[in-house]
Assembly symmetry: C2
Homo-oligomer: 471 residues x 2
């Protein structure tokens, strides 16, 4: 395959087809046309300006734009202390968990916790996100309290799942080690002023880091939320930030739709959504990026799913989903925009060995080929099969998965998301729709002042179980 | 909350609201009406009959209907042998992996591989599904060849990913132990007659099990594909089958729409799809069922995504996705049908401990409450919040996650899927849409007779990269 070589310093390349309105010429049936996206150029220019100016004014929700230049000395110092423990248990959910899973998945060797310490040279990492007694007991039974640090993350300090899980570990820790030694093993990441965790850190005298108040949870991975555990496990936080900073600088110098891929992706996502494609499938062809899709799903879904509108992020993984979702993707309805992320062949490869058994001679086409090239061909084949049936496909190629490029990719999709919100005239930084469920739970848990919520949820629950069939 | 108690022998309960067409009365705006589903009763009755009769005639694709009554002595005997190893590496993808992950996730303790052998009393389990050099090296470095068994699963024996991964492990194993001892550590699960793996098993003299030719990959979890590793890890295969058999018997005695939940779910899914809800969200509130959604996604997507039609399965997990997707689900567009799976409070629970720090007194509503009830309340709150904004919700309640009920749940959704295909007049047992991508890959890999495919994919790839922007 002829393909443009990336230079060593490139961050990544975005490719896509464009339809041509002249029916006599070629062009991909599922792709958009330049005339579809062109009308968005002005609004994107205004949106970019608004984001940069708002960020420099410290506007609510825009802190992520300036994270790449923040001083991270306190994070790195805490990380050095943390890295001496045998295990880290992080307690957090949503934006206080998905970014960590993404960074670790992409940049640490697989089976991290199962590696012997000599091959890890850093702590094991456990996440307590869901309220699940089985998981929490599981984690507690695997660690040695003495040699474990607990990182609890909640901006508000009132996240029910996080605080319930923390109360469990905190109680066990105090019983095991006494309050003073327990406190020596806790780090809190929370707002500088608001909420219960800041005064808690002061009350027990434990370490703490600041989650800047202008950074929302789903935009917080390059803040202490994501950087602390990454750095403690040996991932370079400065390089993550360097990539994000480079990305911001490059984007700010690209002031046309043809040259600015963040503008283009925002415009394309709106064009396809308005054509009835109400799903956006993120499909990396790399196990290391499996969790990237989960992080992206929160970023995209929670930022843009508002006022009865919003495309739904669908997580996929190549080549696995060729054996699960490709039938639907190619032969099903044209209701999705696809992004396929692939990488150049990395240094770690396997040459598929030849074998001598006669029964396996039908596989000779595999002998001597590299697994990386098989995977790259599969990504290309999937994109082509989708395009052939008229589905729109965006290809994002990373020369390598390293901290610098992952930092850039994170910052890139944060920009795409915010700009899409600007086009759609929704605030990408709030999440009013999550309150109702929380209030119902408070009501059911008997929290003071929530009794009317308890009543309402009980009535709705009765309606929901009007028809009931037991097998 | 008043709620109907399940009897110990119940499999599970499905509940949902029904809208009422009389506008003066109550009723849920997002729910369907009885008059919507009633027209499907006859076709479902015919479909059920066709499935049972086809299965007893051994019709292509219908073997899953009779799996619950198959003799599994050979599986259990192989499992006993397998259970003596230190590790099992299973090599398979799609239907030869997702079912295993579901069974293990639901029925084994979490962090299985990290438990000390004394607490596991069964082998560690590794899966090689994707073609990923990093993962395959990772697995190889964690195992001791001598003490490891390899289970390779491919019905056709030609799945590129599976065979590439197997060639890697097989080569290493032969180098390490010599061909004879290597063969003593391999089990093949494949078709009785077709494909390369059956003659391979004979050629090297290794163990093998039969994947019945009338059972498709995504319907194969209750065949040796899913049962072998489950049984080797201590999960009761007879109980899985017993639950599936009970389910079949109960369904066959329910011959009206009002009493047969498989009929109802099939009808409801078609009604909602035709109302523009092109996604079906599967959201268990139980970490143990996280992988159930992945298994279901293949079953649903690959069976029904055909001829330009088909709803897209979206995987979610409560309460985690309250902090990621709920904003979109409640406040976004009305384009999804939701299924929330919850369980009764299990035996394993955590009472959230009280604590003495003044700063945490705002959490006193949590003190002394059980984590299981918090989770149950959250599931209920999510369902109510969805219903309040007019989204259709189906609630499925499992009294307990045990092998019998999981077997029943598997068989249940296989029936729902097949019946939905019957209503939509698509064949739920084929997957013609996956061939194109495979053929392109064969072309790119230089497999003989695929050069025209190579040409076509190269042309499409050029169109796809017409617009290219590097950052």
């Amino acid at each position: 395959m002829p393909e443009k070589r990336n230079s060593a310093s490139d961050l990544f390349t975005i490719s896509f087809g464009m339809a041509v309105s002249d029916p006599s010429s070629a062009g991909m049936s599922g792709a958009a046309e330049w005339t579809d996206v062109a009308p968005f150029e002005e609004i994107l220019r205004a949106g970019s300006l608004r984001l940069s100016e708002g960020a420099s004014r410290g506007e609510e929700g825009l802190g992520w734009k300036t994270l790449p230049w923040k001083n991270i000395d306190p994070v790195e110092e805490t990380a050095r202390w943390l890295s001496e423990f045998g295990s880290i248990v992080q307690i957090g959910i949503g934006g206080s968990a998905l970014g960590n899973q993404m960074l670790h998945g992409a940049l640490l060797p697989p089976y991290w916790n199962e590696l012997p310490r000599s091959k890890r040279d850093a702590p094991r990492f456990f996440l307590s996100d869901n309220v699940d007694p089985r998981d929490n007991h599981g984690v507690w039974n695997l660690i040695e309290a003495e040699k474990t640090a607990f990182v609890v993350i909640s901006k508000s300090g009132s996240t029910a799942e996080t605080m319930a899980n923390f109360l469990f570990f905190w109680d066990r820790l105090k019983v095991e080690l006494g309050p003073k030694r327990a406190a020596e093993r806790v780090v809190v990441i929370t707002d500088e002023k608001q909420g219960a965790l800041r005064p808690f850190a002061e009350e027990i005298g434990c370490r703490s880091l600041v989650l800047p108040s202008d950074v929302g949870g789903r935009f917080s991975v390059l803040s202490p939320v994501g950087l602390l555990s990454a750095s403690a496990l040996g991932i370079s936080a400065p390089k993550l930030l360097q990539g994000a900073a480079e990305l911001e600088e490059k984007l700010s110098s690209r002031t046309t739709l043809q040259t600015n891929p963040a503008w283009l992706l925002a415009a394309l996502s709106v064009v396809h959504y308005r054509k009835g494609r109400n799903m956006t499938v993120m499909m990396p062809y790399e196990d290391a990026l499996d969790r990237f899709s989960e992080w992206y799903a929160q970023l995209w879904g929670e930022s843009l799913g508002k006022n009865g509108s919003g495309s739904t992020p669908v997580k996929a993984l190549g080549a696995i989903d060729q054996h699960s979702q490709i039938q639907l993707y190619t032969d099903g309805p044209d209701d999705k925009l696809f992004t396929v992320i692939s990488t150049s062949d990395g240094e770690e490869d396997i040459i598929i060995p030849e074998t001598e058994e006669k029964s396996l001679m039908g596989l000779s086409y595999l002998f001597g080929q590299s697994m990386n090239s098989l995977r790259r061909y599969e990504a290309l084949s999937t994109m082509a099969a989708l395009a052939k049936t008229g589905k729109p496909v965006i290809s994002l190629k990373l020369p390598e998965i390293d901290p610098r490029r992952l930092g850039a990719l994170i910052q890139f999709y944060e920009n795409v998301t915010a700009l899409t919100g600007y086009i759609l005239d929704v605030n990408p930084f709030d999440q009013p729709g999550v309150e109702q469920g929380k209030n119902y739970t408070y009501g059911l848990m008997g929290r003071p002042n929530y009794s009317s919520q308890a009543l309402e949820v009980t009535e709705l629950a009765e309606e929901l179980s009007l028809q009931q069939i037991t097998l």
